[in-house]
């Protein structure tokens, strides 16, 4: 095997650790060394953690004694997005507001990973408070795409995506409010899963849009996404929005899947070579015996508008807690009002301020019916349209993004940046699970840039997403 340990998948590393061809210490060292070497260029991590000798030793002992029974994540070095709390470590959400905030407890997902013996390489860069699609809105500088460092890695989980794609860890966690796992996964050639709303506890995730947020994996393979998802999911008394396993009716599938394609949504804006890659991916699936069916999702054309009402509304409410009084940046002026104004003005970057203003506007009494309530109603319609579509297909497919990774500064005006999320936001609005899977590359200025195919499944049908993801992987390798 010529792969260096840090280049392995979770599955490969777990196998090598059990076969004793690799030690936990060697695996950690190669990941940590790669991260130290390449991070100054990529800025994927905001902080690299010191080796935790006790945890590394414990993981090795556990693998040696429990062998095959040891959790697959035991001894596996992971990267964690900077808005997920790890007790004792800074969790800044890439904001000046929380630059020195130290987590007082573990997020539930972190507790679950620690119980399985996973290791943490560091905390990864992101758009401030997870608002953005490029990491250019980080208060600590953008992350670069390992496939072409003149381009963005996507966002907001761009640091996690770059860390996995450049093999500076084995896999990573991100959060997804409107596409923040799936879009960077697509732009860096990874699998990225947004689970069903309520599948994974958000206890200890810094809140952005509470009716939309989910934590999920960014990984090198579908198998790894499955492993990481199984480790973090489940009902949690600390998050009342988590759901029991049988909340939605179980969906069984046959070996051959029915793939719904909303052709009416694909007419405009998709760059021709991305469209060609999408059509080729569908053709390859058809060749393997899966069927393509047309589906109609008419309200989807308004999904992005609905999202950019609901998300800022919830963000403005969630970010009201940062007032300079109890924790976070605390500037002191003449009056208490000055304390609020000075702390929030200095603490928040321009995109965060923009969304707070937008949220304040759409929730104000004169406009709440025209914007917020209308968007909330659209959400229910979207959900119903998808339920209807799933009567005749197992998954709905479209490209994850309109185009491959763009250059820094290319999307300077807010609306063009928001359009990056046009296909991904619907799954957050409906709460359905969705995944981005690599579907090949397109060429820009002599470089091959990855693009992704996006699948949405019915609520709690993540198993269908893994099945279709595996089908795409095997069709591409066939």
């Amino acid at each position: 095997m010529t792969k260096r340990p840090n280049e392995m998948t979770i599955g490969e590393a777990a196998h090598a650790l059990r076969a004793r061809s690799l030690t936990v210490r060697e695996l950690w060292d190669t990941c940590a060394e790669a991260a130290r070497t390449r991070n100054p260029e990529l800025n994927a991590y905001l902080e690299l953690f010191d080796a935790d000798e006790a945890v590394i030793d414990a993981a090795q002992i556990r693998i040696d004694t429990e062998k095959e029974a040891a959790p697959l994540l035991c001894g596996i070095p992971l990267a964690i997005k900077d808005n997920i709390l790890i007790e004792g470590h800074i969790a800044s959400a890439a904001s000046k507001m929380l630059e020195n905030y130290r987590a007082t407890y573990d997020a539930t997902v972190i507790r679950k990973l620690k119980e399985r013996g996973a290791l943490f390489v560091g905390r990864t860069n992101m758009d401030e408070f997870a608002m953005g699609s490029s990491t250019e809105h980080s208060a600590f500088g953008p992350t670069k795409n390992p496939h072409d460092t003149s381009r963005v890695p996507g966002g907001s989980s761009g640091g996690s995506a770059a860390a996995v794609a450049a093999h500076l860890c084995i896999a990573a966690l991100g959060t997804d409010t409107g596409g923040s796992i799936r879009q960077p996964a697509a732009l860096t050639g990874l699998a990225g899963l947004k689970p069903t709303y309520g599948a994974v506890s958000r206890s200890g995730a810094i809140a952005l849009g509470s009716s939309l947020d989910q934590i999920g994996p960014l990984t090198k393979t579908i198998e790894d996404a499955h492993i990481l998802y199984e480790a973090i999911r489940g009902l949690d008394p600390l998050d009342s929005t988590t759901i029991p396993d049988d909340l939605y009716p179980a969906r069984s599938i046959s070996a051959k899947l029915r793939i719904g394609v909303p052709r009416h949504l694909l007419a405009e804006n998709i760059t021709p070579d991305v469209r060609a890659a999408f059509d080729a991916a569908l053709a390859a699936l058809e060749k393997e015996g899966h069927t393509i069916v047309d589906v109609e999702l008419p309200t989807s054309v308004h999904a992005l508008a609905a999202y950019y009402v609901i998300q800022p509304a919830e963000a403005s409410a969630n970010l009201a807690r940062y007032d300079g009084v109890r924790y976070g940046l605390a500037k002191r002026g003449e009056t208490l009002l000055d304390d609020y104004l000075d702390s929030r003005t200095e603490g928040f970057g321009s995109e965060t301020r923009r969304r707070i203003l937008l949220g304040t506007f759409v929730l104000s009494s004169g406009y709440i019916d025209a914007y917020y309530r209308k968007a909330d109603a659209a959400r229910a319609v979207l959900r119903r349209e998808y339920e209807k579509a799933f009567e005749k297909c197992d998954v709905v497919a479209f490209p994850t993004t309109l185009s491959p990774a763009f250059k820094f500064g290319e999307k300077g005006d807010p609306v063009s940046m928001y359009l990056e999320d046009i296909f991904t936001v619907t799954a957050n609005l409906t709460g359905a699970p969705a995944i981005s899977v690599p579907m090949g590359t397109v060429e820009r200025e002599g470089r091959r840039l990855p693009v992704g195919i996006h699948f949405t499944a019915p609520h709690q049908a993540e198993h269908i997403l893994f099945a279709i993801g595996n089908a795409v992987e095997s069709a591409r390798n066939a």
Binding site: Y101, R102, T104, Y105, Y197, S211, L238, S240, T241, T299, H302, A305, A306, Y308, V309, S316, A320, D323, G324, V325, R326, Y327, A330, T335, L336, D339, Y340, L341, D342, R344, T345, F348, S350, R353, R354, I356, L357, L358, T360, V362, S364, D369, A370, Y371, R373, K374, A375, D376, A377, A378, R379, A380, V381, R383, R384, D413, P414, V415, Y418, G431
Partner: protein
């Protein structure tokens, strides 16, 4: 069309300061965003009907019963005081376990 005065008013409500040149830029961008999300006007859905009832609702934990019972019986996620020191360590200014804040009521 949003005016700079309206954006200034929103900023005041959101407890954010926006200075001169930023204000013009924010107002311009605000207009572009509202023009985009304004397409919702064209969407024909009836707000507030059963069919369009939002699927999500708020869920609250039940209030704890008597403080004299143990934390376990009260179904609390952790023992009282377990995080006091860690949280207080984040205070910008503290006296013991108390958070020091500015006086907001004066006698003059």
């Amino acid at each position: 069309m949003a005016t700079t005065e309206e954006v200034q008013k929103l900023a005041a409500l959101a407890r954010i300061r926006i200075s001169g040149s930023d204000l013009e830029k924010f107002t311009r961008e605000f207009d572009a965003i509202l023009a985009y999300v304004g397409q919702l006007e064209k969407l024909d859905v009836k707000v507030g009907t059963d069919a369009e009832r939002p699927a999500l609702r708020n869920v609250m934990r039940a209030d704890g019963s008597s403080r004299s019972k143990s934390d376990f019986e009260r179904d609390e996620p952790h023992a009282a005081g377990a995080y006091t020191e860690k949280l207080a360590a984040q205070f910008p200014s503290r006296e013991g376990d108390a958070l020091v804040v500015k006086q907001i009521i004066t006698h003059d």
